[in-house]
C-alpha cells in the first residue's frame, strides 16, 4: 500500500476528487496548509505598509491506495490538478506498512 500526499491548489480540489472518483477512490483526508515554493505569495497593504505574504494557501491531500493502483492515481491527480502555471503543487508517495480500519479492525488492503 502506498500513501500519496498531494499538495494542490485549493480550487483544484473538486477536479482532483472527481478524477479519483473515476478510479473508484473516494477515501481521502484533506488538510489546509501553506505552501512555500516557486509560486509567489501575494502582497497586502495596510495603511500603505506593504506586506509580502510568503506562502500560498494549498490543500494537502492524503490518499492511501493499493500498490497496484498507485500509478494510476498519481497520474489522475497530476492531470486533474494541472493548470500549467507555477504552484500547481507536488505529489509525494511512500510505502505504508500497515493500514487498519478502526471501525472493523480489518487490516491491509481491505482497510483502505
Amino acid at each position: 500500500m502506498l500513501m500519496i500526499e498531494a499538495v494542490i491548489k485549493p480550487n483544484k480540489l473538486d477536479e482532483v476528487k472527481a478524477a479519483l472518483a473515476n478510479l473508484g477512490i473516494l477515501g481521502m483526508t484533506a488538510v489546509e496548509c501553506k505552501g512555500y515554493g516557486r509560486q509567489l505569495g501575494h502582497t497586502e497593504r495596510y495603511r500603505g505598509a506593504k506586506m509580502d505574504v510568503g506562502f500560498v494557501p494549498k490543500v494537502l491531500l492524503k490518499i492511501c491506495v493499493k500498490s497496484e493502483q498507485s500509478q494510476q492515481a498519481i497520474d489522475a491527480i497530476t492531470i486533474a490538478a494541472r493548470t500549467g502555471a507555477v504552484g500547481d503543487g507536488k505529489i509525494f508517495a511512500y510505502p505504508v506498512v500497515q493500514v487498519v480500519r478502526i471501525r472493523t479492525g480489518e487490516a491491509g488492503d481491505e482497510a483502505i
Binding site: 476528487k17 494557501p57 471501525r103
Partner: protein, 490 residues
Amino acid sequence: MLSASRSRSWALYLLLGAVVLGTSSASAQAAGLTPVELKEPSAINTGDTAWMLMSSALVLLMTGPALALFYGGLVRRKNVLATMMQSFILMAIVSVVWAVIGYSLAFDVGTPFIGGVRFAFLREVGFGPCEYAPTIPHTTWMVFQLMFAIITPALICGAYAERMKFSAMVLFSTLWLVVVYCPMAHMVWGKGGLLNAFLPGPGVNSPALDFAGGTVVHISSGVSALVCALVLGKRAGFGRVAMPPHSVVLSFIGAALLWVGWFGFNGGSALAANGLASSAFVTTHFAAAAATLGWVVMEWVKTGKPTVLGAISGAVAGLVVITPASGFTTPMYGMLMGFIGGALCMLAATSLKSKFGYDDSLDAFGVHGVGGTLGAILTGVFAVAAINGKPGLVDGNPNQVIPQLIAVGITWAIAIVGSLILLKIVDAVIGLRVIEADEMEGLDLTQHGEAGYHMEESDSTLAWSPKERAAAYGPGGDEPAVGAARLSQP
C-alpha cells in the same frame, strides 16, 4: 371580595393561569379599582416621547444583538448560531404574544396578581397617553414594556445553552411569559398590583421598590434559569472536557452593547426625559463601572490574573444589581452597590456551580439570580427620599427592607414553581434535551442545519454523488457495517 378574587387568581395560577381571564377585569372593578385612565394626545411631551422611543430601541438592542452576542460568544463554536437564535426567536414570539394578550395581562387592572383582558389585541392602546406614563403615547409605553418582556425569557437561555431542543425552548419560553412574567410584571408595576408602590390597589399591598425590574426581570429569569439547569442536567462531557468560550470577542461586543442599552432600560424607566431619568442613567453607569472593578479585583487577588471575561461579567452583574435601585438611590451609593455586586457575583459564578454541581452553562443564575436578589434587597437599604420620595435604611427607614424581602420571596416562589411545572409539561410533550449524538455534533447543525463559520479557503465542500459512491463502495455502501447508529439526528 378581593380576597376571593385573589384566591381565585391563585387557583388560576396553579392551573397555569393563562386561559380563563375574561372576567378578571370585571372583578377588579367590582373590587373598587378604577380602570387604567387614558388621556388626550394633547398631553404628549415631545422630549419625553423622543427619550422613550430611543429607550425602547436601546432595550431591544440589549436582546439583539447584545445578549445574543454575549451568550453566543460563551458557547462552543458548534452552538453559536443556536444560542443566538434563542434570543432572536424570542424577539419575534414574545412580541406577538404581548400584542395578543401579554400586555393586557400585565397592565390592565384585574386582581392584585394578574391583569384583565381590556387591552388584548392592543385594543385601546392608542396615540394618547395612559395613566402609567402621562406624557407619552400609550403605544410608546406598551412597546417599552414589551422590550422588557422580550429580554427576560432570553436571559434564561444562558442556563440551558448547548443542550435544549429548539422546539422545547420555544414552547417553554412562550408559556413562561404568560405564566411567570405577566403576573410578576402586574404585581410589581400593574395598577393595583400586589407589590406596586406607586399605583396600589385598595386592598392588601406590600409596596416594594423595583425601579426597572430587579424582581420582575432579573430574579424571575435568574431563578428560573437555576431550575432549568437542575432539571435539564449537565452538558455531555461537563467537567471532563474543556468548554472554553469560542469567542470572548463576541461576548465583549455583547457586554459593551448591554451597558449602553441599559441606559434605556434604567434611564427609560423614569418614563420621561427629566432629572430622575438622568439620575438613573448616571447611577447605572457608576454601578457598572464599580462592579467591573469589583469582579476584576476579586479575581486578580484570588487567581493572580484579571480576565476580560471577568471584567465584562462584572459590568453585567453591576447593571443587574443596580436595576431595581437606579431610580431610588444616589450615584455614589450606586457605585457602592455595584462594587459589592461585582465581587459577590464573581464568587457566585465561580464557586456556587462547582460546589453544588449544577451546570448553569453561562451563569444566568450566578449573575441574574444572585445579582437580582442582592439588588432587590439593597434597594431597601440604599433608597434615598431625595431621589424619588422613597427612603430606605440609610435614609432612616429600616422598614423598607421588609417589603423588599417579601417581593424577593414571592418572585423566587413563582419562578421556581412556575418553571418547574412548565419544564415538566414541556418534557412530557416534546422532550427538553436533544439526544446526545446531536449534542456532540452541535445544535447549529442538528437543530438548524447551519454552521456558524465557514473559514476554509477552498470552495470545494460538495459531497460525492450517490453514483460515485455506489461505484466505489457498491450499493448501500454507506450503511454502517456493524449496525451502529449514524451520528446524526433522525
